[in-house]
């Protein structure tokens, strides 16, 4: 069975729109939800806008939309047209449908998994305390062409970090928690920072970790300990090294650094080694982090984490 099709339309954007509808309509005659379409289209076409192509295809009677524009489907005329084109054309390498690229990126980092799953919540229009059914998450993930076990891994990470909560009702639902919604609104990591994220480790998905606010407090304290207040900066390696004093697992060290950037507490400069400088907001966080109450809460969180690690080690002992 082949999935390599000739271009289904002379216009490249229309061809991509039709390729997505052809591949992901379930049931075949029903079409697909517009949000699912948007997600898939963005993965293969980047920021290219499908709206004009969809309008053109609707005007020519190949596609139809529901009144609320939540659903998109191929009409019988559209199906006839792409079928004829498909039969008449010689097999030729099709426009890449994204699957191969998505699977050839190597093992993803926790950062990548976290962003990919949260991206689905964003694309599906799920906000703080909103939820998505497991089957819908699966459908989005499957159209991305990524490996199914990575969705599990990503969800485990999000649940571990308190970004998402699972509820087993008539359907299994995943609810976006406040911390997850906040994370989604923050800045994405620039490429030099993202490159420093290590591949996700399966066992670490169930580790007890610190809440984001405690990670931020610890990370900003490293700047104080290393006397790296502006205009001085820290390298990423120095920040990691400083965080090791708290016996944080490697994934949490990167997460702490990424959170600092995401929430605007640091700026990054890449001059061969990534340099990190506290912003004014970062200095404000440092002042807050110095309060006795925050120190106490952070110590409690660290104690909880150490105790959970020790319990896990005891359980694993022969």
């Amino acid at each position: 069975m082949t999935q390599r099709h000739p271009a289904l339309h002379d216009d490249p954007t229309c061809a991509q729109v039709l390729a997505v509808i052809n591949a992901h309509s379930r049931p075949a005659v029903a079409g697909m939800p517009r949000r699912l379409f948007n997600y898939r289209f963005r993965l293969i076409a980047g920021e290219r806008d499908a709206a004009a192509a969809i309008r053109q295809l609707c005007d020519s009677g190949w596609l139809a939309e529901s009144d609320d524009q939540d659903f998109l489907w191929l009409t019988p005329e559209g199906f006839r047209a792409i079928l004829e084109r498909f039969k008449n054309a010689e097999e030729e390498p099709a426009a890449a449908d994204g699957v191969a690229e998505a699977r050839s990126e190597g093992p993803p980092s926790e950062y990548a998994l976290r962003c990919r799953v949260l991206d689905i919540f964003r694309e599906a229009g799920v906000g703080k305390r909103g939820h998505m059914a497991a089957e819908d998450l699966n459908r989005f993930w499957s159209v991305s062409g990524r490996r199914a076990d990575e969705l599990r891994h990503g969800l485990d990470i999000l649940m571990r970090d308190g970004y998402v909560r699972i509820g087993r009702f008539r359907k299994t639902l995943f609810r976006l928690q406040g911390e997850g919604a906040r994370y989604l609104q923050g800045r994405t990591a620039p490429a030099p920072l993202e490159k420093l994220a290590k591949p996700a480790v399966s066992e670490e998905r169930h580790f007890k970790t610190l809440p984001d606010e405690s990670l931020l407090v610890l990370a900003v304290h490293v700047f104080k300990q290393r006397r790296a207040l502006p205009p001085r900066s820290l390298s990423f390696g120095e920040l990691e090294y400083g965080l090791e004093d708290y016996e944080l697992p490697a994934f949490a060290q990167f997460h702490a650094a990424e959170l600092l950037h995401r929430y605007g507490y640091v700026d990054l400069h890449d001059d061969g080694s990534l340099q990190i400088t506290l912003t004014d907001e970062g200095r404000g966080l440092l002042r807050t982090a110095d309060s006795e109450m925050v120190q106490w809460v952070t110590r409690m969180a660290l104690d909880d984490m150490s105790k959970a690690s020790a319990d896990d080690a005891d359980e694993g002992a022969p």
């Binding site: 489907w73 939820h131 076990d149 891994h153 087993r168 639902l173």
Partner: protein
């Protein structure tokens, strides 16, 4: 949702299956998957053949050229089904719009929350069940794409198919063959023998521990070696001659000194049950009953020749921890 577009019940059912299970509009539906879903729905094979013939002649479906046989909807069938779909009452969201999250226990974070981890036995049975349902003979094959398509239609997780195929390869039940850029899963003689054995009862399946990633690609024993190992050890412990019943705990105990992997006891016991050497008693304390063929095999397993073969197999396997 089944759509009514044809008077002929079988033809209508086939159109609905293709509509629901097509890989894409143009690629249509794998014929093996169609056959599998047809049989699972309890329809006789002959009805499928005649329905397909009728649909082809009526120009409602087309054969898709390619390495695997597939069929897709014609434009006529597409138009009829779509009209029926649009006319059908909307399948509104089924509840859960505002669930009571406070009533849900958070509990420990586990395994993605998409269902409990399955055992090796469950994974093996799912794949072997597909071969059995399709009546695939020894050395018959199913393409990896078809298998993945069937697996997805059964709503199993994709990662579990990889795990299951690894297990079946490890145990010698399936081998992977690549031909002209297409991968096939070939059912071996041992796999066919396994598939035609007695299926385990649910209580026995429930005893199996969750499958572990680290066990999926190790070198292990053949089915015959597992059986001879288990029955030989039971005989050596004096459990093959005396009582009619042995518990699963006793099976675990006799294998424990060998320090085998966690799946060993249930795998060996299931094989012995499957080949009608032991019988699951259905008793609440997880008991097996000796069958006469089992006692005979146990005596043979005590012979020097068999013991030497099993010992060699154990030495060659990645079993000793």
């Amino acid at each position: 949702m089944s759509l009514q577009v044809l008077e002929d019940v079988s033809g209508n059912a086939v159109l609905n299956l293709i509509n629901d299970g097509s890989l894409s509009l143009l690629d249509g539906m794998d014929a093996l998957l169609l056959k599998y879903l047809w049989r699972r729905a309890g329809h006789p094979d002959r009805n499928l053949a005649s329905a397909l013939q009728g649909l082809l002649e009526a120009g409602l479906i087309e054969v898709v050229p390619g390495p695997d046989m597939a069929v897709r909807l014609s434009t006529r069938a597409f138009a009829a089904l779509q009209q029926a779909w649009r006319a059908a009452p909307g399948s509104a969201a089924e509840g859960d719009d505002s669930p009571d999250w406070d009533s849900v226990e958070q509990g420990p974070v586990q395994a993605g929350g998409m269902g409990a981890a399955r055992s090796e036995l469950q994974l093996r049975l799912h794949v072997i069940g597909i071969y059995a349902e399709l009546s695939v003979p020894a050395n018959g094959r199913i393409s990896a794409a078809s298998m993945a398509h069937i697996w997805a239609q059964l709503r199993h997780r994709g990662e579990e198919l990889r795990h299951a195929v690894d297990l079946l390869q490890r145990d010698g039940h399936v081998r992977v063959l690549r031909e002209g850029g297409v991968a096939y899963f070939v059912l071996t003689e041992a796999g066919f023998h396994y598939a035609t054995g007695r299926p385990p009862p649910a209580q026995l399946i429930a005893l199996a521990p969750p499958a572990r990633n680290q066990d999926r690609r190790i070198k292990t024993l053949s089915d015959q070696d597992w059986i001879d190992l288990l029955l030989g050890e039971l005989a050596r412990a004096g459990l093959a001659q005396g009582p009619d019943a042995i518990s699963f705990s006793e099976i675990e105990s006799v294998l424990a000194p060998l320090r085998l992997h966690g799946f060993a006891a249930i795998h060996a016991a299931e094989l012995a049950h499957r080949q009608a050497l032991l019988e699951w008693s259905g008793a609440s304390d997880a008991q097996f009953l000796w069958l006469e063929a089992g006692r005979t095999r146990a005596r043979q397993a005590m012979s020097g020749e068999v013991q030497a073969r099993v010992r060699d197999a154990l030495l060659a396997a990645d079993h000793t921890l």
